[in-house]
Symmetry: C2
Subunit: 220 residues, 2 copies
DNA sequence: TTTATTATCGAACACTCGTTCGAAAGACGG
DNA sequence: CCGTCTTTCGAACGAGTGTTCGATAATAAA
């Protein structure tokens, strides 16, 4: 009994989550019926409930898997990197890279943030707050180091998330820049806006860095 | 029969729209029932249908009124202003000012963009495209004039909308900066990011401009 | 007061929803 | 083959949905 690969159960659950995420992303959580999910996954309506207890838990599982991976990948990527500016650049790259490569899940995560309630909502929200705090502290650090351009840190933080999380509303992988281009554009746009011209000096050092990142694939 | 004020019918319709927008903003369009609207407006369930033909048209009316005002106010504000940078600044101010003062409607407009279908969806989307094109052309113009910082115009456009439209996810009028502060922060953040340090020169001239804008009130 | 028009309502219809439950089929070592 | 545990399913339930319809009440015009 090799522990190397996922069990049959896990594989199927993951398949259900990924398929459901696509339907939720397309039609929205509330106007997707469990019968839609049943049709998309080719499972019987009642058969679905073997894998979760309710439609709301299905949404939670999608968001939790997705968000945990973003944060996990981010932690790994930032480990050992000290310079706050470089840390932020890596975080943005990671976020956008994962977003583009898992657009369905990330759209559900961004758009259906308030479609859960009670304990499930709280769990997701705690992770979200952690992630936001990570960015906000990073910005504070950068502002302290480089004496930023007088932009409110809270406004800057959520503006950055706005730039990044809005992309599900317009980004088309076939018609737009690729992830590396998107990432470098948004990074430059934000960073230069946040602390002025100083960024440009260090910019050349980063070229070529996106290459290995672009291969960071979905866990699914 | 004075034409100066709205008819009784219009007044009540507007009241229904505003109340409904608050409920939609709170619970989301799809999980709000017509019975919720009935309760909130203190009208009977069937009585509502005297003012619109369907729940979807109710959503449309909210979005259409709201969006038309934003665009209308914007046009008035930009009339006679030639400098594209100043035009952009005014547009951002107008957008954020209206957003903060009509948070419910703007949240519905930003969040329930895909909750309509057919002709109604198309109508809203046409206005949206107009507005987006206005911004995108403005940015192109600015980039041509000032030889921008090499940021893709499409990415910049939607990043700006991301910054502005994301605020319903975090902005709290009681805990955060006021509209003028929010506006100037976001303007500086974006403009400096988009075309580099050059913005700062002209910045001082603009102070005090927000005063009269802050009194632009909801049509409702 | 009589009319005509505008505005409101209770009751009901047809339908879809998420979820449950008991049974059956599949997988698999003994 | 057995027995056991895992996985799947059809059928149904009760609750809630958006919308309609005919009748009433309010308002204004005649």
């Amino acid at each position: 009994m090799p522990s190397e690969s996922q069990s049959k159960y896990d594989q199927k659950l993951v398949h259900v989550l990924k398929t459901s995420a696509a339907v939720f992303a397309d039609k929205g959580y509330h106007s997707t019926s469990m019968r839609d999910i049943s049709r998309a996954t080719k499972m019987s309506l009642s058969g679905l409930y073997y894998y979760f207890d309710s439609k709301e838990e299905l949404l939670f599982l999608i968001q939790d898997y997705c968000f945990s991976t973003v944060i996990g990948d981010c932690r790994k990527l930032l480990a050992g990197v000290d310079d706050p500016v470089r840390r932020l650049k890596l975080l943005i790259e990671n976020h956008l890279n994962y977003f583009v490569q898992n657009m369905n899940e990330m759209k559900v995560l961004s758009h259906e943030a308030n479609s859960m309630s009670g304990e499930l909502f709280k769990k997701i929200n705690n992770k979200k707050r952690q992630y936001v705090d990570l960015v906000m502290n990073l910005l504070r650090e950068i502002a302290a180091d480089s004496g930023a351009g007088g932009v409110d840190v809270r406004v800057a933080t959520f503006s950055l998330f706005g730039m990044m999380n809005w992309i599900y509303n317009w980004y088309s992988p076939s018609k737009d820049l690729d992830v590396a281009g998107l990432s470098s554009n948004i990074t430059r746009l934000f960073l230069r806006g946040f602390l002025g011209e100083k960024v440009v000096e260090a910019e050349r050092l980063e070229t070529g860095r996106e290459a290995h990142l672009a291969r960071t694939v979905s866990i699914w």
